[in-house]
Symmetry: none
Subunit: 402 residues, 2 copies
């Protein structure tokens, strides 16, 4: 509810806010008594910002909850990650630049293989070649015709992964996923999980039957597994909610997709971190909120590469002066969640954050790290409130009440 309150207090000005998001930033020591990735990294520039700014620890979704990238980013942008929890299908559609349309039903699909008895032999069809995936999607797009005017769309993601979209129907996403998550079992039926999903379930049964029929002689992948259903209803954009003109600078499709769902403009293609900073500089005049997404901290964490994650952090630190040279009114550096290399995956640990602004009260956190941030002035803060604090420091919120 505080979020709706903030929406009502928004006032526009020219002040600029940068959110530098190091994906999976939070970490853990590699050995007992050791330092985390962020603590181990030599980060003179981030340390300086931490010393002059206000620090804290963010909980992306809630105490003890390990977030996926979707909820973690929604929270970063001031959207309640539980209320706005969206199926993976929608994030895939957005990431693929599919023309997202209100009322569509989006699904994440895996091409897979079944034996003569119809039991799954490989849930990923041997990590199918992407070109083969594209050929299959073209074939399905040409041949699958559903009754009652529902249109089906098939789009390749990568390897065995694809997007399936349905359009033209009053869809309900309360449908059972068809991936049994194990080999040796048959794909599950897309039955309704709520009475109001009965019509959607019938369409889904027709869809899976027709797909299986079309693929029955396809050796590489003779079935499909569906999950991550998302019946899309339009979200209020960051412009509508906060009066911002936001720009997203990201290299990975999913983060671009999330940004687009929230009404951000996308900077043109960037791959390296240096290109991202270049894009920030080039577009700085035309926007007032900048989401700069660094993927590689998370990637190295996911791969369990402690030293390499440290290196990515140090590389970003070296680019901080270029960002500061723009003189943003508010600079926030944080992650969307923790990805400790020792866990090789997302975790529930709170995420260090620093906020630097002329109006921030420096606290005792004199360096940027998990343990320093515990003593920070932002305290232990739910991530969804961070944007409001940034808006306040940018003078973009009016007083509440008389």
């Amino acid at each position: 509810m505080e979020q709706e309150l903030i929406d009502k207090l928004v006032t526009k000005n020219d002040k600029k806010i940068i959110f530098l998001i190091l994906d999976g930033l939070g970490g853990l020591p590699q050995t007992p008594g050791g330092q985390t990735e962020l603590e181990a990294a030599r980060t003179p520039n981030l340390d300086r910002l931490a010393a002059s700014g206000t620090c804290g620890l963010l909980d992306p979704v809630g105490y003890g909850i390990t977030p996926g990238s979707g909820p973690a980013h929604f929270a970063l942008f001031g959207y309640d990650p539980v209320a706005y929890n969206v199926g993976r299908g929608l994030l895939s559609a957005a990431g693929l630049d599919f023309p997202i349309t209100e009322g569509d039903l989006y699904m994440r699909a895996n091409f897979a293989t079944v034996d003569a008895q119809g039991l799954i032999t490989d849930r990923r069809a041997g990590r199918l070649a992407t070109e083969k995936n594209e050929a299959i999607c073209r074939q399905l797009q040409e041949n699958i015709r559903l009754s009652s005017g529902t249109q089906a769309f098939f789009r390749t993601e990568k390897e065995h992964r694809a997007l399936v979209a349905l359009r033209g129907g009053d869809f309900c996403e309360e449908i059972a996923e068809t991936d049994p998550q194990k080999t040796g079992l048959a794909p599950l039926l897309p039955v309704e999980l709520a009475p109001q999903a009965k019509k959607t379930a019938a369409i889904m049964r027709e869809l899976t039957e027709k797909i299986n029929n079309a693929l029955k002689n396809e050796e590489a992948a003779n079935t499909i597994l569906l999950r991550g259903y998302a019946a899309y209803r339009r979200f209020p954009s960051m412009t509508e909610r906060f009066g911002l003109q936001p720009l997203a600078i990201a290299s990975y499709p999913m983060y671009k997709g999330i940004a687009k769902l929230l009404g951000m403009e996308l900077a043109s293609a960037t791959q390296t971190v240096e290109e991202e900073i270049q894009a920030l500089q080039n577009n700085y005049r035309d926007h007032d909120f900048f989401f700069v997404h660094i993927k590689y901290t998370d990637s190295r964490g996911e791969d369990g590469q402690f030293a390499e994650k440290v290196q990515v952090i140090e590389k970003i630190d070296a680019l901080i002066p270029d960002i500061c040279a723009l003189n943003p009114d508010v600079l926030v550096v944080t992650g969307d969640h923790s990805t400790p290399a020792v866990l090789s995956g997302h975790s529930w640990h709170p995420v260090p954050v620093l906020l630097s602004a002329a109006t921030s009260l420096p606290d005792t956190a004199a360096s940027f790290g998990e343990r320093a941030c515990i003593t920070g002035g932002l305290g232990r803060m739910p991530m969804k409130y961070l944007l409001g604090v940034a808006l306040a420091h940018a003078g973009k919120l009016q007083k509440f009440g008389a």
Copy 2:
């Protein structure tokens, strides 16, 4: 909801709680690396209380939200500041000692001037002399007669500000404010903002037309601008909710008004801080909750006077021994919100608090200041929960559950 829980756990005893509220206490350094007003002030008595008590940082309404005095005080007294957000008109009525009656509609009014075309030339009528305001209010009170049995009341506040009250009607406050907030524009019409406000809007149109007609030859102020609508529904008092017999000691009308809305008794007229402490001593036997309001910290902050705000804090510190001599069971010292002198206004920064009681666990905060309070045992706490903690330390809350 936690608050309703506290209401159910209340038990009465004779223990006494003092809330010493230094309005706008929280601050910011005047120069980078400097101290805040509270940190810069020499406060040996407050430091001693901070060292032996428990400290923390309070968020009056929410992260990033700058509160007005109304919501900030409601939160201090354990009332959710969003649920109990009241229009400025009601605070004005309470502050003026107007006989507040359930069902009334209260409005804040500015007398203003319009030119021959009806466009506003001065939204404050040249900060009208208060005597002139009184003469106009008398004239309106004698001449304005509304149809359908609605009574209108006009009361002078100060300079160009007045209270307008309507009585006898089923009022709805969802009406457009008539102040366009700019000169060169005509006053806005008090149109309904919700269907159920249609009847109220019709009465408001009649009211503004008749006022404008009555003032049309009044050179000093020939129109009125209305805002801060509040249709009054009675609040549960602090006696009903918490079993307290509260006394308010305040010198400014608005704070007296807020106290009265929550069922506090008012100490007789006090102007200086010394008179307020005297009133505390004189009434100490007859109450068990004391709201002592110090306005001048906020006033100096609003005026941007850092050194003068420091002086007010030091002056209060010198009076702390007199308060401690009363041996209160719980002494809380905090502000309602922050008013950093460098910002010359209310801000969203959390407010330092100290709570001193025999049962408080001393933390590492060894002096009373924003940065010391970050490390305090109360942590970063929503202000609306403070009263519950004070009740607990006073033994006024029973155990929850078996």
